[in-house]
Amino acid sequence: MNFSEIFKQSNQLCRISPDGRYLATCVQYRLVVRDVNSLQILHLYTCLDQIVHMEWSSDSLFILCAMYKRGLVQVWSLEQPDWHCKIDEGSIGLVSSRWSPDGRHILNTTEFHLRVTVWSLCTKAVSYIKYPKACQKGIDFSRDGSYMALAERRDCKDYVSVFVCEDWHLLRHFETETQDLAGLEWSPNGCVLAVWDSCLEYKVLLYSLDGRLLSSFSAYEWSLGIKSLAWSPSSQFLAIGSFDEKVRILNHITWKKITEFEHPATIYPALAGLGLMCVSTGPLTLYQTHNEISQPPFQIPVVKPDLDRANPKVGVSSLAFSADGRYLATKNDNMASVVWVWNMQKMSLEAVLEQTAAVRCFQWDPRRPRLALCTGTPRLYLWSPAGSVSVQVPSEGGFQVHALSWHSNGDSLVLIGKEHLCLCYMDTEDKSTDSNIWTK
């Protein structure tokens, strides 16, 4: 495992282009584009203000930089460095900006969610979509980029509009049976839209692309409901994490619950064969394979949440399926230092990864069943079915990893600190040494 030198960044804005060739980072006003392999600066753009949001277009040819305070969006081209584009939303304000899947349109959400402005870079045309709903996840594009679902709120009722992204034609518009819609997400095959209610009510609605209600699911009433939701890559499972510290898995044929994963504070041997990994930050060796594998039963540190407060720190807040859909990683908020890995074939607990500090971020390798996680310490933790590794990031100033993101080929990893970043390369050629645990 190799590490690059450390670069500066601000606002944790570092993105690898979708084709995997470039790394864009923002440093205050500047946007720096590097080659991923050589890390040499290819382009340097200067924006009008400090960049708050940055995004690659899907074809990796353009970069969008948003400056929300000034209501400005600037777009840069990699092919033509002198080409420039500036979109000014004016006094109406800007809270969110994103590319459309075709990379030729920009969708800006104005302040107070007054409207969504669709700017075309091809024709300079502007279109407005009224009544967008301010919620957790109000816009979602289908994975093939052909449809966009938008949550709307009119007359105190929730609606979903499905647009064709090609020409922003409104394909379907239907009312949803939600009290207060909190989010929507397309299934990876783009045929089913999952819509869920706000945390006051546990309700998931599944709509077909043509607006038919396929099914609705509610696990319980009265207490706080859904906290997170994730589709499996094959679209056959829908995992729902909720405030009751459980994950429920729905199937794609009957849309009924197959199983539910609990997150108990004490793990008994009955929960299938698993090894607990206590990753300690003690010795400062570079590699630490097979840290501590304890046998059940064992206790997991639990922080008692303050239930009187709004948004209590309890329940499953993040869910992620591995790229092959075999594993599901979850994090329960009142056990912040633990990541749970579930086996989706056996529908059982595979591993419990206990860290010494609260887990900040975890992400699956886009190619292999390999999980990377960070805890805000100068260490990177990796888990795969064969074992686990923790690696110290070599740096003088104590580089603390706050976030991470994988390269699309799964060979390298961007580690993002507070104001710095560095790349971590997995040694794929050198199979004789440490990396052989991945190929087992």
């Binding site: 080409w83 500036k86 034609h169 095959n189 044929i253």
Partner: protein, 601 residues
């Protein structure tokens, strides 16, 4: 008394009052008032001290005789003979006789008196005893009364507590109701307010948007150096109705594609399941039928299950044939027939199994008499008998010792009653012990019976096992030859052979525990030996159960196997994200194998 008052002046005139009194007696010898006279003379004689102790003196002999005669006659003795009333002389023989009789009477009365006195004493002592008993009972009664009143008090307090708690509960319930009402009220109020606010917000937004549009915001602009081409290279099209319909078409096409893919995957799964079903049917048929030629080919084979009556075999084959045809048809009607035939065959298989079981047990009983395993059992029996005897002896010994001890303890009490009571206690103890002993005997009998059952079961199991092994070997061979999709059944058979090994080691176990029992018998501990025998018998039961549930783990194993199989292609294929289709068609079969309810057959 009149007489007395009459004579008293007379007595005064006389110089000797004693004489006068006698003379008076003689004078007034009227028979009527004789008793009163006598009674009145007695106190007089007492008061006149010793002079009158001499009853008879020279002067009053005839009177005396008369008197005695009278007395005797009154007592019912032969008074007449003592003296003739006329002469008043003593006739010595009857007088002596009378005297003798009197003496006898006296003696008798003395004796009876003594007896009576003793009786009195005894009764007084018993009275005393009863009284003390009474006192004690009274004390006890008092105590119990006090206890009762205490309990009453406690009960009352508890009642009170219950009442208060109930009232508390009631009030809490009311409170809850109230709170629920409040919550509901608040919720409705909140939702109402939220709606109102939202409406206001919408209104404001509308106004804001209007204002912004009216203002003709100069700043709102896009500044592009030159226009870009579309990412797909096409030219921009005008929005037309045609485009809308084409979008609809596209949408439906994608939906249709999805459904088709799903149907395809279900079809694949279905066909796989059908294959499995067919395989199963074939196996089942094989298990049920081919023993017939086997038995013909090898008549020397002594296993009894080979002679399974081939009664419904032809019909069975027919059913199998038609169901195979039905499988290919795969329509609604066929399904019904299919399930029927499967059920039929399953029932047949079950019957067959049961028959096998019964045959095995029959063979067992036949073999039991001459089997080598019966010998150690007899040894056991003897051992048991001996042990029981020893235990009995020990028990008796203990019992006598206890009795002696009790006696010794009792002797320390002087009190008769205490002894009595102790006697009672010992009796009671004896009763109790007898009861215990009976229970004990009963338990022992149970244990014995259980042990017998266990050993029998173990023997039967061994035989069953052997036949099973043979059966399975044949089956496996056949399966191997058929190259079935259940590749991992082999794995199962391997594990099963291990369990068979463990069963075979059972007779060794049994033999090993006999010496252990011998050593234990010297400690006079019956329980430990019986328990040990039970615990030694236990593994045989678990084995028994395991073998009885043979079919269940097998099916599970085969499920597991088919689980694993499709999983590997997923990983391989899905690494290159585009092969979603194959993933989709592979994954559902995993799902439906896991959840039987979801499988659409």
């Amino acid at each position: 008394m009149g007489d007395w008052s009459m004579t008293s002046p007379l007595g005064v005139s006389m110089e000797n009052s004693e004489i006068s009194s006698i003379s008076r007696v003689t004078l007034s010898s009227s028979r009527q008032n004789h008793d009163s006279l006598y009674s009145s003379s007695l106190p007089l004689s007492k008061s006149s001290h010793n002079v009158l102790s001499a009853f008879c003196i020279e002067e009053n002999v005839p009177q005396c005789i008369l008197y005695i005669n009278q007395e005797l006659s009154s007592l019912g003795l032969a008074s007449m003979c003592i003296a003739t009333p006329v002469e008043a002389t003593l006739n010595s023989v009857p007088a002596l006789n009378a005297m003798y009789e009197l003496l006898q009477a006296q003696r008798r009365s003395q004796r009876s008196l003594e007896a009576l006195e003793q009786d009195l004493l005894r009764t007084s002592s018993t009275l005393e005893h009863l009284q003390t008993g009474n006192y004690r009972l009274k004390d006890q009664l008092e105590l119990l009364k006090r206890e009762k009143s205490g309990l009453h008090e406690k009960e009352r307090q508890l009642q009170l507590k219950i009442e208060t708690l109930q009232s508390c509960l009631k009030s809490e319930k009311e409170e809850i109701q109230k709170l629920q009402n409040i919550i509901a009220g608040r919720a409705s109020q909140y939702s109402h307010d939220a709606k109102r606010k939202e409406r206001e917000c919408v209104k404001l937004k509308e106004r804001l948007g209007q204002l912004l549009i009216d203002k003709r915001d100069k700043k709102l602009a896009i500044d592009v150096l030159n226009y870009l081409g579309r990412s797909d290279g096409k030219r921009i099209q005008w929005k037309t109705g045609k485009a809308g319909t084409s979008h609809e078409g596209d949408m439906y096409k994608s939906l249709l594609n999805d459904y088709e893919a799903r149907q395809q995957s279900l079809m694949v799964e279905n066909s796989e399941l059908k294959k499995v079903l067919q395989q199963m049917k074939r196996d089942m048929m094989y298990i049920l039928s081919p023993h017939k030629p086997c038995a013909k080919a090898s008549p020397g084979d002594d296993s009894p299950e080979r002679g399974f009556p081939p009664a419904g075999l032809e019909g069975q084959d027919e059913v199998g044939e038609c169901s195979r045809e039905n499988l290919d048809q795969s329509c609604e009607k066929a399904r019904e027939q299919l399930t029927y035939s499967i059920r039929l065959q399953w029932r047949r298989l079950k019957n067959h199994m049961e028959k096998l079981d019964s045959q095995v047990s029959l063979a067992q009983t036949q073999q039991q008499s001459g089997s080598e395993e019966a010998v150690p059992r007899e040894v056991h029996e003897e051992e048991m008998q001996r042990m029981r005897l020893e235990v009995q002896q020990g028990k008796d010994f203990i019992h006598t010792q206890q009795q002696l001890l009790q006696k010794q303890l009792n002797s320390s009490f002087d009190d008769e009653t205490a002894a009595l009571l102790n006697d009672c206690y010992t009796l009671e103890e004896k009763e109790r012990l007898k009861e215990e002993w009976r229970l004990f005997e009963e338990q022992k009998g149970n244990f014995e019976r259980e042990r017998k059952n266990f050993t029998e079961a173990a023997i039967r199991l061994g035989h069953e096992k052997k036949t099973f092994e043979e059966d399975r070997a044949a089956w496996l061979k056949n399966q191997f030859l058929n190259l079935t999709p259940f590749v991992d059944r082999k794995k199962y058979s391997l594990s099963d052979s291990q369990s068979a090994l463990s069963i075979r080691s059972e007779p060794e176990l049994q033999q090993s525990y006999t010496p252990a029992k011998l050593t234990k018998s010297s400690t006079y501990n019956e329980f430990s030996t019986t328990y040990s025998s039970i615990s030694d018998g236990l593994p045989s039961t678990t084995e028994l159960y395991r073998t009885l549930h043979l079919i269940q783990p097998e099916t599970r194993h085969s499920k597991r196997g088919s689980w694993q199989e499709p999983s590997s292609p997923i990983r391989a294929e899905n690494l290159f994200g585009k092969s979603k289709c194959s993933v989709r068609c592979r994954d559902p079969c995993i799902l439906s194998l896991d959840k039987d309810g979801d499988s659409p057959i």
